[in-house]
């Protein structure tokens, strides 16, 4: 069964610095998609970044980038130049081509210190 593990329940970063959130997953599939979602205190989850497993190039979206290591089944999120507005719960998610749902990790709460 596919599982997603986020081993850091909480992380903290100083404003303007860089932080990396970890995510690993378990799957026997070769083709799948990975996501990072952000849930600010207002509670609506927002898609931050998406990675297609068959693409070797790491996805980037402005200050957000991923380090996708397919062989290691690792999908970490790097936030550069952290801002106060980045404070949120971050969820890593996986979905396969053949499956019918998206699997989420337990989340990492990110605090940004001014």
């Amino acid at each position: 069964a596919q599982t997603v593990t986020q081993s850091q329940p909480e992380m903290s970063v100083q404003e303007a610095e860089t932080v990396t959130l970890s995510c690993t997953y378990d799957t026997s599939e070769s083709d799948y998609y990975l996501f990072w979602y952000k849930q600010p205190p207002s509670r609506q989850m927002i898609l931050v970044i998406r990675q297609e497993a068959y693409k070797q190039q790491n996805a980037t979206e402005n200050r957000f980038s991923v380090n996708f290591q397919k062989a290691a089944k690792s999908f970490s999120l790097k936030i550069s130049d952290s801002q106060l507005g980045d404070a949120a719960m971050y969820f890593c998610a996986y979905t396969s081509i053949s499956g019918n749902d998206m699997r989420f990790g337990a989340g990492t709460r990110l605090t940004v210190k001014p």
């Binding site: 997603v4 207002s42 509670r43 998406r50 749902d101 337990a106």
Partner: protein, 114 residues
């Protein structure tokens, strides 16, 4: 474009009572998903609608949960009778192109059963 709307945002009910959660997806999104997050744990899939049809309801915990999507527009999730372990945040999400592009989530309904 209006986002995914869920209401109520918060509900507190007594054990044994009935609660109905509502989700209005983005107009035109055929796919509608329900997820639940129990405190501190991962977000878990409940079910998936394609238009008015249940595509997958394998995540529904038991027969006290009933989901409907009449006319393929909004969806309701009824819990009857509610138990203490049903407490959590219930998220609704919708997508047009399926899960591989990520979902648009609502803000969730925080259900507390006392």
């Amino acid at each position: 474009e209006a986002g995914v709307t869920q209401f109520p945002s918060h509900s507190v009910i007594e054990k044994g009572q009935t609660v109905t959660l509502r989700c209005d997806p983005i107009s035109g999104h055929d796919n509608l998903y329900w997820y639940r997050r129990v405190m501190g744990k991962e977000i878990k899939f409940l079910l998936h609608f394609v238009k008015e049809s249940k595509q997958d309801e394998s995540g529904m915990p038991n027969n006290r949960f009933l989901a409907e999507r009449t006319g393929g527009t909004y969806s309701t999730l009824k819990v009857q009778p509610a138990e203490l372990e049903d407490s959590g945040v219930y998220f609704c999400a919708s997508s047009q192109g399926g899960r591989r592009y990520g979902y648009t989530f609502g803000s969730g309904t925080r259900l507390t059963v006392v």
